[in-house]
Every structure is written in C-alpha cells, then in structure tokens.
C-alpha cells in the first residue's frame, strides 16, 4: 500500500498505469479575441447648442445574420452621460457591468446626487471618455482588446456639450459630430453639412440636431446591410437625459433602390 496521503483514493499506477496529464498542457500559444462574434453596427452622435444627440439601432448581428433585434446599445452612466457601443456585444456587456460598478463606487462618496456641487465633483462625460480611453489602451497592450468603438455623449466639467470617441486600440478623439463603423463613411458627411465646426454645432437647435441624426439613421438603414429600422436615441442636456429605446424609422422611401445596379441576382 502507498502510505502517502496524496496517493490515497487514486487509481493505482501499478494497475492502471500512470495518470495521463497531457491534456492539461496545450501546445498552442495563449490566444485572446481575434475577431468579434455578435456585433452591433454604427453609433452616431451630434452636438448642438446645449447638449448632444446620440443614436444607435437595436440590432446585434451574428455575422450577417440579424440575430438579436431588441438590443439596447445606448447605456446611461450616472444619470448624466450616455455611452454608445459599436462592435462586440459581449464586450459591451462587460463594459456595461464595469461602468455600473464604477457608478456605484461614485455613489459611496457623493451621497447627494441632486446638489450642483456633487454633480461637478462626480465623473462627467469628459472624465468617462478619458477613463475608457485608458482602459481600452491598457487592454490592447495586453493583446486582448475589448472589440468596441465607443461614443461618449454628455457634458464636460464646464457643463458644455461633450462628444468623444474611443476605439479598441485606445485611439481617442472628440469632434462636433462623430460616428462609428459604417456611420463614419455614411453619416459623417451628412452631419458635417450642418456641423463642420464647433461654432456651427453651437448654433444648432435641439430639433435640428435630432432631425439630422434621424436622417443619418435612415441613410444607414438604407445602405448598411447590418442595420435595423428600430433604434434608440438619447438627448443629453443640463436638465438630464431623454432616452427613447424603441423608435421606428419614419418616412422611408426605397425609390432610390430602383436605380441601383450591380448587386445580387439581377437579370438586367
């Protein structure tokens, strides 16, 4: 008998042979996410005189399959900022939980959410943007990026409208109008027509900005095959956040499609 305690209860080597531990050691290198799986498409954001509009559709695609059609890609942070996520949905969930934790930590120190003093002291959109940039860059340096491009909409420390973008490499920038994914190609030119500069954006009214963003969502639905006609739109101002999560694209006209040639099975 084997008297060593670590041998007790194990199959005897002399009867069954030595334990084959080879499956515990893999020969392949450690890998991280190489490509996203379930993805969300564009997020568009536009600043106006006293706030920011941000929108994203409610679709999560599995490759080219429109897999989930009620996904909310705009997330509210601390009742003062909105974060819009494009890219991998599971990484978005991770980030959402992470930001939720962060928001609870903030509540420890600021027992009074309504006073103006604590509002300026707690994390605003500009702080959140910088935080996410550091987080994304740290993850890319670990060669394990969070596969998202993120728009942060809200107000900065001076209560001015703020809109910033962070991507999976930690690249970050701000602009009067921003869009991720296909939106960067299709929506940006439309938004730049009305808000090429900060000064232009500061002259926009809320209604104008919302109309332009809705127009962008429509164009994106026309031309982006991974998009949906149901979308979420949020307006962030000093007075708070107005978030609508189940909007339907209105006044669609597919007449332009008649003239498109060159895709799919066409006989002409």
């Amino acid at each position: 008998m084997d008297h060593r305690p670590q041998a007790w209860g194990r199959p005897r080597d002399d009867v069954y042979g030595a334990y084959d531990a080879s499956y515990l050691h893999s020969n392949t290198p450690k890998t991280a996410t190489q490509s996203p799986v379930v993805t969300g498409t564009s997020v568009v954001g536009l600043k106006f005189a006293d706030g920011v509009v941000i929108a994203a559709d409610n679709l999560a695609s599995y490759g080219s399959l429109a897999r989930f059609t009620d996904v909310k890609r705009l997330r509210v942070f601390l009742d003062s900022s909105v974060v819009g996520f494009g890219g991998d949905v599971s990484d978005m969930q991770y980030l959402d939980r992470h930001l939720n934790e962060l928001a609870i930590d903030e509540a420890y120190d600021h027992l009074t959410p309504d006073s103006s003093a604590s509002k300026t002291a707690s994390l605003n959109a500009a702080n959140l943007y910088k935080y996410l940039q550091k987080l994304m860059y740290a993850r890319r340096n670990d060669f394990d990026p969070l596969w998202n491009q993120i728009l942060v909409a809200g107000l900065d420390g001076a209560q001015k409208p703020f809109l910033g973008s962070v991507d999976l490499r930690g690249t970050s920038f701000t602009s009067p109008s921003l869009a991720t994914g296909y939106g960067a190609m299709l929506a940006q030119p439309i938004m730049r027509r009305v808000a090429a500069t900060e000064e232009d954006a500061a002259r926009l009214t809320r209604e104008q900005a919302v109309d332009v963003v809705k127009e962008c969502m429509k164009v994106l639905f026309y031309r982006d095959a991974r998009s949906l006609d149901r979308y979420s739109i949020a307006v962030v101002t000093k007075d708070g956040i107005e978030l609508k999560e189940d909007e339907q694209l209105e006044k669609q006209s597919w007449a332009f499609a008649e003239r498109i040639r060159g895709y799919g099975t066409q006989t002409v």
Partner: protein, 293 residues
C-alpha cells in the same frame, strides 16, 4: 452586569458557566456610549438618522459623514466605535459587489443583513479577535420593478420568463439592526446608541405597522424630532443631525440611498426644535403650577 467576568471575560470563545460571552457584552457597552442612530421604515421607504456629536470645533461642519452607502439602494448607519463601523461598511460593500458579480442583480437587503450578521457573529468565536464595537442599522429598498440583469442587452422572450407570478408583489422597504453578537432582526423602527431608550419610546408611539402608514416626508420629520428628543443636553452640547433616505422608484430618491436634501433636513430640524421647545415650556408651566400649590 454581575460585577466582573471572574476570568471568563478575558477572551472570546470562552463561555462563562452561566452561558454568557462577556466580551460581547462589553462590546454592547461600547455601543451604548456612541451617538444615537435610528432607522424608520414606512410604506414609501426608509429613513436613517444619526446624532453626530461634534468632538472638536476644528472639524468642518457637514464633513466626515457617518451614514454610508453600500449599494445604490442600501444605506448603513451605526453607533459605537467609528473605525469598527467603517470596516463593517467596507465589508458590506464587498458583499454587495460580489453578489452583483455572481447574480448580476442588486443584493436584496435581507441577504445583505444576513451576510453581515454572519460576519459579525464570526468575530465572537475566536481568541484572536474581538467583537465589533458597533450596532449597525441597515436600511434598503429592494426594487419593486422588474429588475434588469446587470449588463443585459435585450428584452428577452416576449412571452415572459417562466415561473413568474404576475400577482406577486416584489421588493419594498427593509430595515434591519445588527448587534455585536451578530444577532439581527428586521424592524419597523430601530434605535441604538446613547439615547436608544428615549428613541425607542418615541418610535413605539408612531404607527409604523398599522394600516395608516406615515409618508416618507413625515418619517423624516419624526426622525429629526426623535434624534433631538434622544439627545442629552446636559452632557453633550453640540451635535449635527445627519439623515438619509431611500424611496421606491416612483418616490423622491428613485430607489437610491441618498442624503436627505438640505432644505428638507433644515425644515425638519426647525420643526423638531420647535416641538421640543413647546414641550419643555409645558414642563416648566407644570412645575411652576406645582410650586404655587
């Protein structure tokens, strides 16, 4: 207390022959010297209040908060040794966070009270530790709404999750008090610290469990009044009143644990002082009547 522990009070983990743990009883003494704290539960939510004795004029008024937020919907106030209370709060925050990590949902107040009760009880079992010198009051409002899972992205199946009873009411206000022994009960109104006797007497006069429930705003006023009543003017002169509240999603705090806004607190305190003034005037009248007789 029976004079001294006759040797049975030198360590936790040793019972006296008549079945007492003297270390725990001494810890209760530490609580009885701390500033009064109370909690009131009403239908609309929970109010926590504490009499913060001003230890030095050099301390900034309104700084050094004694009521702590554990999770968005849970607050804690305690009487006794403040550093012990701080550690209690740290641990409660860890528990609330790990619950979220595991279950992707906020911790119910009852579960937090249970875990913290267990934690405090563990400090009555070993030679190497001493019990907590605090009695903590844990107040929370578990969401009565359909709680979304943390990080959830979709609505899920439109037919609704299985096994749900549409008539069942979920959530509501909860109030627990945890003692140094680890003992905890749920309360309608809880009081601990120096002025607990007077505060309990006042709490018992309120109709907290009856059908005619008081509003959250009334509860704030009562809390301010009770702290003032329980305050012992002769021994401690200065004190600050600190109050926090938690309502349901449709109430003033939208399900969050937050400090009672300054205006409401000051109004409640003004009323409390007025009432106190009136009653002491009456007392004076009575005693002067007696003199005349």
């Amino acid at each position: 207390m029976t004079s001294i522990g006759t040797g049975y009070d030198l360590a936790n983990s040793i019972f006296s022959p008549d079945g007492r743990n003297f270390q725990v009883e001494y810890a209760v003494k530490a609580v009885e010297n701390g500033g009064t704290s109370i909690g009131i539960r009403c239908k609309e939510g929970v109010v926590l209040a504490v009499e913060k004795v001003v230890a030095s004029k050099l301390l900034k008024p309104g700084a050094n908060k004694r009521i702590a937020t554990v999770d968005r919907h849970i607050g804690v106030v305690y009487s006794g040794m403040v550093p012990d209370g701080r550690h209690f709060v740290d641990r409660a925050r860890d528990e609330a966070r790990s619950w979220r990590d595991t279950f992707k949902t906020p911790i119910p107040t009852a579960d937090l009270a249970s875990r913290m009760g267990g934690y405090m009880q563990a400090y009555t079992l070993y030679q190497s530790v001493r019990p907590f010198g605090i009695t903590a009051i844990v107040g929370g409002f578990d969401s009565e709404l359909e709680a979304p899972v943390d990080g959830e992205v979709g609505r899920g199946p439109s037919v609704g999750a299985g096994g749900k009873n549409p008539d069942k009411k979920h959530g509501g206000p909860f109030l627990y008090m945890i003692e140094p022994s680890g003992l905890y009960w749920g309360y309608y109104g809880a009081a601990t610290g120096k002025g607990r006797q007077a505060a309990k007497a006042e709490l018992e006069k309120l109709d907290l469990k009856g059908g005619a429930d008081m509003s959250l705003l009334e509860a704030v006023k009562e809390a301010a009044r009770i702290i003032h009543v329980a305050h012992d003017d002769s021994n401690d002169k200065e004190f600050e009143l600190e109050m926090s509240w938690i309502s349901g999603a449709d109430g003033p705090t939208k399900g969050r644990h937050v400090e009672v806004p300054k205006e409401i607190r000051e109004e409640a305190e003004r009323l409390a002082k007025e009432l106190l003034q009136d009653s002491s005037d009456e007392d004076n009248d009575k005693s002067s009547d007696k003199m005349e007789e």
